[in-house]
């Protein structure tokens, strides 16, 4: 369950389902809540498209912009385009600043093994495969992590429901392999209606919150409540990255070959503009 960042953009739960849930008794099983939140945050529709603009601010308020289009497709066979929760493919194509235009990431997310990641750098005319390594590294210099791209698997953490408020389920999560992550624990506030995580606080071993991810705006597209603005703040260092989404679409019928290695050098223009 790693619902931060722009993948919240694809978050969805059918509105009907959400309402039905709200009418029921609140859930009490942490794993079940996390499973629902994972679907809401990562599996809206069978595929999706969004334009993202990140504004990275450092502690002095100096800003940099990164702009890109994200295409996503669920590959769970043969259930496609069914409930979700399985493997996915992502294509991330950069358009700004102009000196990184055409830089492309291709990610094959697997629920049962390490993800596959490729990178294309047009300036060096170079396709590289990126070893799984550590996924909690910065995504292109922003305050988001790579893991925010591929999503943190629910099974990577142990979950505990610590409070149920009128609006949120509040859960605490600890890594199954503590050495693999920089946090000691994190707390999520999951919207009881949409199951979108609205806030995540990461704490260090001293119990201090050093990193926070907030969903600041949610709109509904094709029946899927979707986070359209998020903010991740580095509370220790003072910087932050804001990300806004637009041109959001779900179930647009992205063909499988869009997510092939060929798209690295020749991005599928028709799906990007």
């Amino acid at each position: 369950m790693k619902p931060s960042a722009w993948f919240a953009a694809f978050a969805t739960v059918a509105v009907s389902t959400a309402s039905a849930v709200a009418a029921e008794q609140p859930l009490t099983d942490a794993d079940a809540i996390v499973a629902r939140a994972n679907l809401a945050a990562y599996y809206a529709g069978a595929d999706g498209r969004s334009e993202a603009r990140m504004v990275i601010s450092d502690s002095q308020g100096r800003q940099q912009v990164r702009q890109f289009v994200v295409l996503r497709r669920d590959v769970s066979e043969p259930g496609y385009p069914a409930a979700g929760g399985g493997d996915q493919e992502f294509l991330v194509v950069f358009s700004r600043p102009s000196d990184v235009r055409g830089t492309v990431y291709l990610v094959e997310k697997h629920v049962d093994r390490d993800d596959d990641r490729w990178l294309y750098l047009p300036g060096l005319d170079l396709v590289k495969r990126i070893s799984a390594g550590d996924k909690r590294t910065s995504f292109v210099g922003s305050h988001y992590f790579y893991e925010d791209v591929s999503g943190r698997l629910p099974a990577a953490d142990q979950h505990e429901l610590i409070e149920t408020t009128d609006a949120h389920y509040v859960l605490r999560h600890r890594a199954v392999v503590p050495d693999s992550v920089e946090f000691s624990e994190y707390t999520t506030w999951i919207d009881r209606e949409t199951f979108l995580p609205m806030r995540i606080d990461y704490r260090n071993s001293n119990g201090e919150v050093y990193r926070r991810v907030e969903a600041q705006a949610v709109e509904t597209f094709g029946g899927h409540p979707t986070v359209t603005r998020t903010l991740v703040s580095d509370l220790a260092g003072g910087g932050s990255t804001e990300m806004r989404f637009r041109n959001i679409g779900y179930d647009i019928g992205l063909p499988e070959d869009v997510f092939s290695e060929r798209s690295l050098r020749a991005p599928p223009r028709q799906w990007l503009e």
């Binding site: 100096r62 000196d99 396709v127 070893s131 909690r136 292109v140």
Partner: protein
Amino acid sequence: MKHQITYIATHHPRWVYAATLLLVVALGSQIPRIHIDTDPENMLPEAQPSRVFHNLVKARFDLHDAMVVGAVNETDPDGIYNPRSLAALHALSERIMAIDGVIDRDLMSLANADNITQAGPGTIRFEWMMRTPPADAEAAAAIRDAVARLPLLLNTLVSGDGRAAAVYVPIESKDLSYQVSRQIQAVTAELDSDDDYHITGLPVAEDTFGHQMFVQMGISAPLAGLMIFLLMWYFFKSPVLVVAPMIVAMATVIVIMGALIGLGFTVHIMSSMIPIFLMPIAVVDSVHIMSEFADSYSEERGADEVIRGVIDHLYAPMLYTSVTSAIGFASLLLTPIPPVQVFGAFVAAGILLAFLLTIVFVPAYVVRMRPAQLAKLHAIAQATEGSSMVARGLRGAGRFAFSRPGLIIGVAAVILALSVAGIARIQINDNPVRWFKQSHPVRVADRVLNEHFAGTYDAFLVLTRPLPEARLTGFADAARSDIDAIEPLDPGLRETLQAALAAPDELDAVISALDDALFDAEGPAAAQIEALIERAEVLQQEQKFFLEPDHLDYLERAQQALLDSGLVGKTNALPDVVKVVNRELRGGGGEHYRIPDSSNAVAQTLLQYQSSHRPQDLWHMVTPDYTSTAIWVQLTSGDNQDMTRVQNHMDQWLAANPPPGGADARWAGKTYINVVWQQAMVEGMLSSLLGAFAAVLVIMVVLFRSLKFGLIAMLPLTLTIAFVYGLIGWIGKYYDMPIAVLSALTLGLSIDFAIHFLQRFRSVAAAVGYPAAREAMFEEPARAIFRNAVVIALGFTPLFAAPLVPYITVGAFMASIMLISSAVTLLLLPAVISVFANRLVPAPQPAPVSEPDSQAVRSDTGLPHSSQGASS
């Protein structure tokens, strides 16, 4: 006025006690508010341009003052790359990060460095270098191999010989250094490791110095006081009497330090020495009074009358010596260095306060002494004068001086010439680490770590090249009229676009605004906006000056030039990052360790570099708009001389290789700042010395109402200063901050003996004639000068035990000044006088120098008033 003062003092001693006590308590109560400031940066005024730029650079590149913790393993065949050492280093890093005041995200250590490697063909891998300590020797060796491929780490985080590893510990504020370094020491003491641990870096040296300075204020000053007390006890044989000068000295020190602290001044390295300077200076005036009082006391006249006579008699010489000493210190106000100005002003004030306390408190004290004590005092004074070995020696010296003037003047001329030659050899140099003795842990750490690493002293060569203003305004003006021409366009949108152009250098924001407009625009408007975006992007590329391969190439050459200076251990800069990432992206082969061909390729390389655990590291080297870049220069020496050589070397190189695009190149960094304030200090000291010299000369001429005597009075001072600084030149001791400041002290103190000697000589000669005066001068007056020289010179010997070099230097200076100026006064002045006797000494007539004096004749016999010596 002096009569009234003494009258009040002797008739209302309790008032004097009460007033003194009140003053001491009132100002002494301010002392607990003390705020120690050890930052040499404060040697420069806040608005000094180099300091302003230094701090601008720190903010621009998010740089913090850092200490360096080094682990050294000299025994293991694998050096530091053995599992146990690395485990200890890992634990050390983790625990340092948990210390309050440490900026953990910027801490640099193998334990939180990133590694970039090849993970099979065509695959690149980013991961922590040492997320967990290596399990075995093989894993440790893998870390060694990885570090060897990363020039940014090699010789910075691990030494080239593999024996030492370093942790760079950035701290929120440099005045936390001492306290944090203590906590780190506690951590290293507990580590499971046989490695040696050292802590160094300028912040530690400076802050540790501050701490020890504070301790020294509590040790050295009281010790000097005790020493002076014992010496006076030895000379006067009366502890009761000697208590009076001690009270004057302590009251002076407490009042002045209280005033300094109470007025909100920080206690800087210089001002911490105020007690040590004031202690002996405050004592000597009282010594004059006590001494003459002991000589001339008689029961018939009574203490009250005797003391008033003594004060009356000594008032003028004491005032003049106090004023000249005060001027010596006040001249420090001419330096452009705030802490030195504060030091000079408060020492000067202290000297005048000591004078005032002396003429008020001491009379009040003696009139309250019991008649029996007074009588005993007088008896001892009578018994011990005149027959000692010292007395006989001084008489011999006097005869020699008056009979062999040619020889003495000749020797003095030779000494002066040698001194001038020595002064020409003076090496101006400083380094806060050198303020500690050789054996001090800070000094040891500095030596050991700089043997292993490329250098623990930092400087930054900063190149800046913003987009020319004309390009930006040209673009903005054209864009404004283009936006006006776009049809159709929503009026609100048009306004937003125009607003974005208000800050055309924020091209990211301009482009984003245009892009937003494009989102809502259609048809021909969209095409126009797109064209505008394209132009803005072209301009933005141009703005990102240090993404251009040619400009990175220039940086590389500048880095090489820095290394060519022979004094730079290593440089770290943007090209190093670009080259490493480029190499790894292209398969890891050494042939790819180069800067790619286009600025886009550079930008994409850096995008990958930032895909690490520490994306912020890039902004320590270049600003996010790529208009300014910093080359981090590591020096193994923090000596100002070495930094200056590097600067000079680069000045030449930059002149021969002008930066591209007219980029501006400037220095920053602590090592550089130390050079700046030292230069200010050296120049400031020269003008302060010349100013004080002129002022003292004028005072001498006024005092003696004679240009000739005024000039003669300057001789001991001139020769003493020349000798002391000539000696420094010959023995090769660096001219550093303490030595620079001491010139004022030299000037203020070495004039005193001359004043006393010449004034006494003139009045004696006027009374008894020149031939008799020659003899008389080498009775009590010479003894008084000698005695004062010994009291002050020996009074400072406790400073030799201090662990801080500036304290030792002060002690050595004090002793030298006293011995040399007393010797010059007692030898050269008689020699010069005997040469010019005819012109200097008129026929005997009863006309004393400054004022008619009923005691003059009596005292001029040489017997009574014992010490008109150094009343400084």
